[in-house]
């Protein structure tokens, strides 16, 4: 049985593959240069950031109530959403209470995860994406294929065509023109919107500060004219102290977009105070669980350290060849191959192939700003898939009980080593051994020389002597 991701990779047009490859490679190389130019030991910083996030996860039971109290004392209304449905319903309820019908959104992966936009549309509410990439995804009825760069799979000609189709001007694929047109269109929308919706990159438990990082300034616009701010935040987004943000922001921007700092970093402590001239009068934080507590209870909890920088996608050779949509889930790439099947909960079997879509090369772990041992987690999920008998977990990688029998019986093993020489004379392409056929489709098999080394070892006089000595001793 073929692996869906492997099959998908063959359907990817060469120009798309090339643009994903070039763009991820360039960002990865710049990221590495920047980190090593700026810091004496960036790997130690990654470890430290990982320790901070891991500590936070392991004390969420105290940090979550603490941040709720802090947010409330800052005048923020806090909501808890166990499921995607709860989160969507919470947004809708806030909208309905205000008689609001229009949302301007800045980029948030959690809103993708809970499928907020289609839910709101069904209830007569327009939720417009204002991040340029997400806006293009929205008008194309597409899905993001990268967690930081949602349209990494599109070229500017496709975007120009989409803009023309949507009545945003005659065909013009000049990036500046495209941006200017989106900007002109969105300006009106900001002014007409009732509510600004954002995600949250971090929330400090100490101060209740919500931190947003963007490069387009759209989240500021979302919160400039609207009277109500809703922030959708995963429960794992906490950091204990404000001073932890220095380290994490330094790592996030460099890892995500190879910048020292994103163009806009907002620290939002609550709704507009009476002395402030403008800004939302009402602020809500919706803490989204949606399976995270269950992940926390597994041996894969380290994945919740993730700060969504996308560095593991950029360095991953599999992502580079297959692109984001190959992962059939909101979170693609190495982090997605761990997180998506876990967040799927009962639907884990549907994504049980994703943890296998990795050569376990470890490049993801090497670049992760919070040092998540992604290969170890992928391996744990491969084991979980097999234990739970998920068919996709065994497709093309069948159980290996008979190999274990062979490898624990040295006499049989040695016989097999000699018998393997048949491979040198048999037409291997005709043998009904799927892995062998998969190997030989694009690769030759080296000549079988089973047992030769052992014979040589035995034939050496000094070894025979030592063996004899050992035998005498025992």
């Amino acid at each position: 049985m073929r692996q869906p991701l492997d099959t998908f990779s063959t359907t990817l047009p060469p120009d798309k593959r090339a643009s994903v490859y070039q763009s991820t490679k360039a960002t990865h190389e710049k990221r590495t240069k920047l980190l090593f130019d700026h810091f004496a030991d960036p790997n130690r910083l990654r470890e430290l950031a990982g320790e901070i996030k891991q500590h936070t996860l392991e004390h969420l039971d105290t940090y979550l109530p603490a941040v709720e109290a802090k947010l409330q004392s800052n005048g923020v209304q806090v909501h808890w959403a166990s499921t995607a449905d709860d989160a969507n319903a919470a947004v809708l309820k806030i909208m309905q209470a205000r008689g609001a019908t229009k949302i301007v959104k800045s980029k948030t992966m959690v809103s993708e995860e809970i499928h907020l936009e289609p839910y709101l549309r069904k209830h007569g509410i327009e939720a417009l994406e204002t991040d340029l990439g997400e806006f293009i995804v929205q008008i194309d009825h597409d899905h993001p294929s990268h967690i930081v760069r949602p349209i990494i799979h599109k070229n500017r000609r496709e975007i120009a065509q989409s803009f023309e189709r949507e009545g945003l001007g005659v065909y013009n694929d000049d990036p500046q023109t495209i941006t200017r047109r989106a900007r002109a269109f969105l300006r009106e929308k900001y002014l007409a919107a009732d509510v600004g919706l954002t995600g949250g990159n971090f929330i400090s438990v100490e101060s209740g500060r919500l931190v947003l990082v963007t490069n387009e300034g759209n989240s500021r616009f979302c919160l400039a004219a609207t009277k109500c701010h809703i922030a959708l935040v995963g429960i794992e987004k906490l950091v204990p102290r404000d001073r932890d943000l220095g380290l994490l922001l330094n790592l996030l921007a460099r890892s995500a977009t190879a910048q020292q700092l994103t163009v806009y970093t907002e620290f939002i402590t609550g709704p507009k105070s009476p002395t402030q001239p403008d800004g939302p009068e009402e602020m809500h934080v919706i803490f989204v669980d949606n399976g995270r507590t269950d992940v926390l209870a597994t041996e894969c909890r380290d994945i919740l350290r993730c700060i969504r920088c996308g560095a593991c996608l950029n360095v991953c050779p599999v992502y580079r060849q297959a692109s984001g949509h190959a992962y059939r889930s909101v979170y693609p790439g190495p982090v997605g191959a761990v997180l998506s099947p876990l967040l799927a909960g009962k639907k884990f079997p549907e994504l049980a192939d994703l943890p296998k879509a990795s050569s376990l090369c470890g490049a993801c772990n090497e670049v992760c700003p919070v040092n998540i041992p992604i290969p170890d987690l992928l391996l744990r999920l491969r084991d979980k898939g097999k234990r739970e008998h998920a068919p996709l977990a065994s497709a093309a990688t069948p159980p290996m009980g008979s190999f274990a029998t062979l490898a624990t019986h040295p006499t049989v093993w040695k016989t097999a080593l000699t018998a393997g020489k048949l491979l040198n004379v048999l037409p291997t392409t005709l043998l009904p051994v799927p892995p062998l056929r998969a190997w030989e489709k694009n690769r030759t098999l080296p000549k079988w020389r089973g047992g030769e080394f052992r014979n040589w070892m035995k034939s050496r006089p000094d070894v025979r002597r030592k063996n004899a000595q050992n035998a005498q001793k025992s």
Partner: protein
């Protein structure tokens, strides 16, 4: 990966050799070269006859119960205190990292940990256990070194490059995108043949960019995949394991 706790060789330099299943089945000369190199360095080599596989294929494929059976067999086979030297970064990492992961909740974790603390990849052993800083002999060739992924986070890659560069006559050329995987990945190579092939093709371009005479690695699995692709496309590589280069350098100068 912190490997500083590993057991160092005793004064008599007695070591156990884990030849790896790939050398057992296909690449006998690599295992032979490993023996010759270690003996040149004064090691006494034990080759436990009952050895089979490190357990990595089922570990990697997600069949951990099958893998644990093989690891237990390996632990029994490599009894004793001597360092276990492996001419493969991948099999070595299986024993000092992977096995610990799958034995986390098993009662015999201590025995597995003990083997882990005795296990060394060959280049790491030569440089960091035996303290060899430059390699004698001569090898006149341009070499492209493929840093295999399972040496990430270990001193092996640097040790191998250091040894290769120190040999008289070698020129080690830089390889583009050295941090990228060759696409082998064990079961990945047969379960995801298209992605695996695409990755390998890209790696071959980088390895060949400077027209090296030989492509060297500390892992035969990567070389088997890369040369398999190269040969299938009609232009084979000259793949050599690090141990073969070290042995041939000694032979070229009649040091062995």
């Amino acid at each position: 990966m912190d490997l500083s706790h590993r057991r160092r060789p005793a004064a008599d330099r007695r070591v156990q050799l884990m030849a790896t299943c790939l050398c057992d089945a296909f690449f006998d000369d690599v295992a032979r070269a490993t023996v010759e190199v270690l003996e040149y360095l004064g090691c006494t080599i034990e080759f436990p006859e009952a050895q089979t596989c490190c357990g990595q294929p089922p570990f990697n494929g997600g069949d951990w119960p099958a893998s644990r059976k093989i690891v237990r067999h390996t632990v029994d086979t490599f009894a004793g205190d001597a360092p276990v030297v492996v001419p493969s970064g991948s099999c070595a990492a299986m024993l000092f990292h992977g096995a610990l992961l799958e034995f986390e909740n098993e009662p015999d974790l201590p025995a597995v940990s003990k083997l882990a603390s005795r296990t060394w990849e060959l280049a790491d052993f030569i440089v960091n256990a035996l303290g060899v800083t430059s390699w004698p002999g001569e090898y006149k060739a341009t070499l492209a070194f493929h840093r295999s992924c399972h040496s990430r986070g270990t001193p092996s890659g640097e040790a191998a490059l250091h040894l290769l560069s120190s040999i008289s006559g070698t020129r080690v050329v830089p390889v583009g995108e050295a941090e990228q995987c060759c696409g082998f990945g064990g079961t990945f190579s047969v379960a995801f043949p298209n992605v695996s092939t695409a990755m390998g093709t890209l790696k071959l371009e980088h390895l060949r960019a400077e027209n090296p005479d030989v492509v060297v690695s500390a892992d035969m699995s990567c070389l088997m995949h890369l040369n398999g692709l190269a040969e299938k496309s009609g232009s084979p590589l000259r793949p050599q394991h690090l141990a073969q280069i070290l042995r041939d350098a000694l032979k070229n100068s009649a040091l062995i």
